[in-house]
């Protein structure tokens, strides 16, 4: 799993672009990398999933954790470019509503 992080200090915005397959094998390292970049306050975060071709319940669990953690710290999280191949997992678990994908 590759991750590219772009921070815009002026706009208080961070984008994480992920590439690869998001399963239990990848989640632990990725969760800690993204968690370390979260700061308290009114920041917005985006996770770009355009290049994520596979996502399972471990990946979903990580996204749920990150959204809750970011919200707890006063920020906002948005998912970008959710590919059709993984969108059904969000629909199946009704997480499309939770992440505002509808």
């Amino acid at each position: 799993m590759k991750i590219a992080t772009k921070v815009d200090d002026k706009k208080r915005h961070v984008t994480f672009a992920l590439e690869g397959e998001l399963d239990v094998h990848q989640v632990k390292g990725l969760k800690s990398t993204i968690s370390e970049a979260i700061v308290a306050g009114d920041w917005s975060y985006a996770i770009d999933l355009a290049k994520v071709g596979y996502l399972d319940s471990s990946g979903l669990g990580m996204l749920v954790y990150l959204k809750k953690e970011i919200t707890r710290q006063g920020g906002r999280l948005q998912l970008l470019n959710v590919a059709e191949s993984i969108r059904s997992v969000f629909q199946l678990t009704r997480l499309d509503e939770f992440f505002g994908l509808k």
Partner: protein, 162 residues
Amino acid sequence: MSIAQLMQEPRPRSTRLDLEIAGTSRSLSLVRRLLDTCTRHQRLQPQVLNDVKLAVAEACTNVIRHAFQFDPTRRFGLNIQVSDRYFLVQLQYEDARFDPGTIPQPDLNNLREGGLGVYIMRHIMDVVEYATDPPTRTVTLRMMKRISPDDAGGQSENRYQG
């Protein structure tokens, strides 16, 4: 007919995989690749294949994470049979503590980090059944998905129910 009986029944143009998988999360991408390979000639709809691949991977993840706690020295059996009518999966592993009656239903209105794996399996597959054999501490998970003629050119029947 039970899933176990269906797995014994010879079917024309079926593909069968009998694997022994190590209890490490690295095995999961290998399982997904093997599923791609063994379903290729069945010409399933990509979304049906993605769904089934996800259900099998969730089952394997649960074994590796909860039963084996990522112990790479442990092994479980994975049998897959794909025909023009059924997608049959059997996982067999040792877990003295597992009680299928205690699998919690996730609260979709108040989601936590975990607990979605079995929920996803049950929504994708038509049948998901666990059997335990306490004397040998063996757990057998069997799953079945019916392949309708439309699955080569239409949507699966079971998606998004419930």
